[in-house]
Symmetry: C2
Subunit: 218 residues, 2 copies
DNA sequence: GTCTATATGAAGATAGAC
DNA sequence: GTCTATCTTCATATAGAC
């Protein structure tokens, strides 16, 4: 049985491949296709993998469930696209923000900027990113498999940030690079469980998280 | 429509109330009841709320799905019991470990011991604890509601640990008590996403996480 | 491109035999 | 206490009309 998430010819208007669409800005691709993904991301974010139904997604874009299959081959193809777009989006957000800093910027500032960008994508701007985080562990293995390359690419950014930190002698004493990376991803990725826009400030959270990870300049 | 998770008379052999059973050790309660909860915890931990079916749980204890209803009024009653037992278990684990320390123990040691106990319950010993974490956000509001009191009680432990830290002047500069608490719960509770017994040591992780949260003695 | 109608399966829950 | 049988609902997915 095919899971329908492997790239293969689709009868889509534009003929773009099903997986790996990267342009969240919508520079290409059919209107409906992006609208469906937007709705799916929104519902996946709040309801999770199993509680998100094609009927819900279809209703959110003013369609019936059957019509979805003109645009996507399966539910899992939609989920995979949302998940991968979500990771790619937070990757682009963080990388863009880091590129605006001078290469010689203080490592503490780099970490703080990266955290702020990550939290902002996760909590404010991208249903895709939070949907991906929430749905990942419930999705079928084929979907998770397709997501792994994207995730690894993103996690490498944090590997580099942490390495810079250690090379600059600014990591807290007694912590390995590996643990530092897992710790920062954990505090950030757990935040959807408690974050309330009215109670917390992303700006402040980023500053304080960075303070935990980076030693003050000697 | 009743969700079936509110305590009410059950036709159970022992007549114990449905929710809030605290004795994980099984000092009381019917054999089948605890066996069902054990199986439910194990399956919930790996499959999550929606993908855990009464048929699966029943099969795991050598029953048919219909028979479950002799012991529990609904799936959500089972889920709520697992979740609440899970929180109570990690609370007892952490509190017991802390009680073994002298009251005047170094705050760093207290934090490290608490982290080790939490990680140990979450990753090694209790299906209930990890099941509760994984199922919480997918469970119906009535189940989450029933869990809140338990969670709050547990989180208060970390509030106290962090307060001690700040009073002792050992918290990292520039971090609030609130953020410190959310950060440590985040790095710990995200760990089921990446932890592999063959690759990580709970002992080491606890030491390194504690190093992040507690300043070296001046 | 979207619809209606439907095939197919699986879920939670109940009734009543044993 | 557990079983079988069944009710009801709702999911993904397909076929074919428009």
């Amino acid at each position: 049985m095919s899971t329908g998430i492997n790239p293969r010819p689709m009868r889509s208007r534009t003929g773009r491949r099903a997986l790996g669409s990267v342009e969240l800005a919508g520079t290409a691709g059919s209107r409906s296709r992006r609208e469906i993904l937007d709705a799916a991301a929104r519902i996946l974010r709040s309801h999770g993998y199993h509680a998100t139904t094609l009927r819900d997604i279809a209703a959110a874009v003013g369609m019936k469930a059957g019509s979805i299959y003109y645009h996507f081959a399966s539910k899992d193809e939609i989920v995979a696209a949302v998940m991968n777009d979500g990771v790619d989006h937070v990757l682009n957000t963080v990388e863009s923000a880091l590129r605006l800093l001078p290469p010689a910027a203080d490592p503490r500032l780099k970490v703080e900027v990266a955290i702020r960008s990550h939290l902002s994508a996760l909590l404010e701007y991208s249903d895709y990113t939070s949907a991906g985080l929430k749905a990942y562990s419930d999705a079928p293995e084929a979907v998770r498999q397709a997501a792994r390359a994207h995730r690894r690419r993103y996690e490498a950014i944090w590997g580099r940030l942490v390495d810079d930190l250690m090379r600059a002698g600014r990591s807290p004493p007694g912590t390995s690079a590996q643990t530092l990376r897992l710790a920062v991803l954990g505090m950030m990725n757990w935040s959807p469980e408690w974050y309330r826009p009215t109670r917390h400030s992303i700006e402040t959270l980023a500053r304080e998280f960075a303070a935990l990870l980076v030693q003050a300049k000697a």
